[in-house]
């Protein structure tokens, strides 16, 4: 993590000292990305200043969101946490065992086909999952749990779990598969069974890759808008740990109100504040993920 603007330019210059045009092109492209990332953070920060001035910290603690009067983001923040957490809890065991099986047990040709299907599913856009969720999952969950209505936080969590499963699965599998075969051969030489090899040797070796896969999945789950919007019920309230009631996440709130708020003072600023909150949540998550990666690499 020895990144700094100075380093960036120094390495750029050293790479391009011999005037390789392509090197400059690469550097330029990289700069574009950096400008976007930093620019986005600054934009969100600047745009959300008015609402923080107006509401102070009440913006994050307030439970009441009524356009034109008060803006309290807690219901959306809480909903995002609950829904993403649920998706992770549901996905982790399935993704891990699925990845282990695909990587360690399947024959190479069969593995390639399974991988193809996973990668295909990982590219399906959110709206498709959303429509499936509306037509099947909401009614299914309503009947299965005998609920008043099927548009709940639980439904959204399940839908997100289904959505991010292929991504997490295929990336975790990549991580497992990239463990050098010498490890497996050595383990076999010591007389370990296949399961013991997979569990005690291969899995610990690929923990950081699996953490990376989970991070990408969580990032997608946290940011998913349309699929969640269609099944969550879109009611702003802090529901405690009751999963079987309607709620709201940050992206679903943004999706519902962004068009109305476009360029309209405090409402727009409040939505930008929500965007900033989500940005920070993902950033904190990424930092923790990286710390975990470093820790597990040692």
């Amino acid at each position: 993590m020895n990144f700094s603007i100075g380093n960036y330019f120094r390495s750029t210059f050293s790479a391009t000292r011999n005037w390789e045009p392509l090197g400059w092109v690469f550097a330029g492209m990289n700069l574009i990305f950096l400008v976007f990332a930093v620019g986005l953070a600054i934009f969100l920060l600047v745009e959300s200043i008015p609402i923080v001035r107006l509401e102070g910290f009440e913006f994050w603690w307030g439970e009441d969101w009524w356009v034109g009067e008060t803006y309290g983001a807690l219901p959306m923040i809480w909903g995002s946490f609950i829904v993403t957490g649920l998706a992770v809890i549901l996905v982790l065991p399935i993704a891990l065992s699925g990845a282990l099986f695909t990587s360690e047990y399947l024959s190479p040709p069969f593995r390639r086909r399974v991988k193809g299907v996973m990668e295909l599913l990982a590219g399906v856009p959110g709206i498709i999952y959303g429509l499936l969720g509306v037509s099947l999952l909401t009614t299914g969950i309503k009947d299965a749990f005998n609920l008043l209505d099927g548009n709940t936080l639980f439904t959204a969590g399940c839908l997100l779990a289904i959505m991010i499963l292929p991504t997490v699965l295929t990336l975790s599998e990549d991580a497992l598969h990239s463990v050098p075969s010498e490890f497996r051969e050595a383990a076999e030489g010591l007389g370990l069974t296949k399961l013991q090899t997979a569990w005690r040797v291969v899995l610990p070796q690929s923990l950081s890759g699996i953490a990376g896969a989970m991070l990408l999945g969580i990032g997608r789950a946290m940011g998913e808008t349309i699929a969640v919007m269609l099944v969550i019920g879109s009611l702003d309230r802090v529901s405690g740990f009751n999963l079987f009631v309607s709620g709201q996440t940050i992206p679903s709130k943004l999706g519902r109100e962004a068009a109305e708020a476009l360029g309209s003072g405090e409402h727009w600023s409040a939505l930008m504040g929500l965007g900033l909150t989500l940005f920070l949540m993902v950033a904190v998550l990424t930092i923790f993920g990286n710390i975990f990666k470093h820790w597990s690499n040692r």
Binding site: P21, V67, D149, N151, S234, R256, E257, E260
Partner: protein, 284 residues
């Protein structure tokens, strides 16, 4: 750099070929229509018909009345669709935009319930009962003569035109807060689907969205009963009626004017009727 020249030339040429010339065409020929999902069927069908005899390209997008009014006031769209009038607040905020309203049809808003509730005997509700349900004081259908089932109270996004006129009638306040709400929906299609999926839902929708699974109840107010029918709207008896509006910033010109005149004209008014609304008598 010389050997890259060809590549650059190729890239630029490729980009130019990649975009058909219409992409850069005069913006005057493209009309953006945005807003109410209630007005949308009228606008999109009219646009299709209108484009058969005109060079103008019309793009119709949903978003809700609030979005329609905001978009046109801020110049993101040429015509805003709204299923309500411009609110006093919006009039003050967008004073500079000089918004003009062009009515193209009439519509009634009904209190809709799931067909299961309707079959079980809930055919009419009083204003007070509906208010009680939305305020969370009445929570079970049996309290208003229905089956012993909890009520799934469906509200609409705050800026939706349908919500404005409905809440105005029920509470006398278009922006009434409704603590009894269980679900919040956006477009009419979304709300229709949620009412249909549930077996104990209540909601608000235009007459045009009634179907086998989504039934309109009649309204009772001070001893009088108002049936949710087109005849009642036409005779001026039904209480929740609103105009379907096109909104422009300033007086419309050229193609925009031609399109609005088309919708107001005989062909357009036929489409209004086909879409499930009531035509308006020539002038607004």
């Amino acid at each position: 750099m010389v050997r890259y020249k060809r590549a650059w030339a190729g890239l630029v040429l490729g980009l130019m070929l990649g975009f058909p010339p219409e992409t850069f065409a005069d913006t005057g020929l493209r009309i953006q229509v945005v807003g109410s999902t209630t007005v949308l069927p009228v606008a999109s069908r009219s646009a299709q018909r209108f484009m058969q005899s005109s060079k103008a390209r019309i793009l119709v997008n949903a978003g809700g009345s609030g979005v329609g009014i905001h978009s046109v006031a801020q110049g993101h769209a040429d015509i805003g669709m709204a299923s309500r009038e411009i609110s006093p607040n919006e009039k003050i905020r967008f004073e500079k935009s000089d918004l003009r309203t062009h009515s193209v049809g009439l519509d009634g808003v009904a209190c809709m319930v799931s067909s299961e509730v309707y079959q079980a005997g809930v055919r009419q509700l009083t204003r007070r009962e509906i208010a009680g349900i939305y305020m969370g004081k009445i929570r079970n259908w049996k309290e208003v003569g229905g089956p012993d089932r909890e009520i799934v109270v469906i509200d609409k996004e705050r800026h939706r035109g349908t919500r404005h006129v409905f809440m105005q009638y029920i509470f006398g306040n278009a922006l009434q807060r409704t603590p009894g709400t269980l679900l919040v929906t956006g477009s009419n299609n979304e709300e229709q689907a949620k009412i249909a999926q549930s077996d104990s839902a209540i909601g608000m929708l235009s007459f045009a969205w009634m179907n086998e699974q989504v039934k309109a109840v009649s309204l009772q107010d001070q001893g009088k009963e108002f049936l949710p029918t087109w005849e009642a709207v036409q005779q001026g008896q039904y209480p929740i009626v609103r105009k379907l509006n096109f909104i422009t910033a300033g007086e419309p010109k050229r193609d925009i004017k031609a399109f609005i005149d088309f919708v107001k004209g005989p062909d357009g008014q036929k489409i209004v009727k086909e879409s499930g609304y009531i035509p308006i008598g020539g002038k607004d």
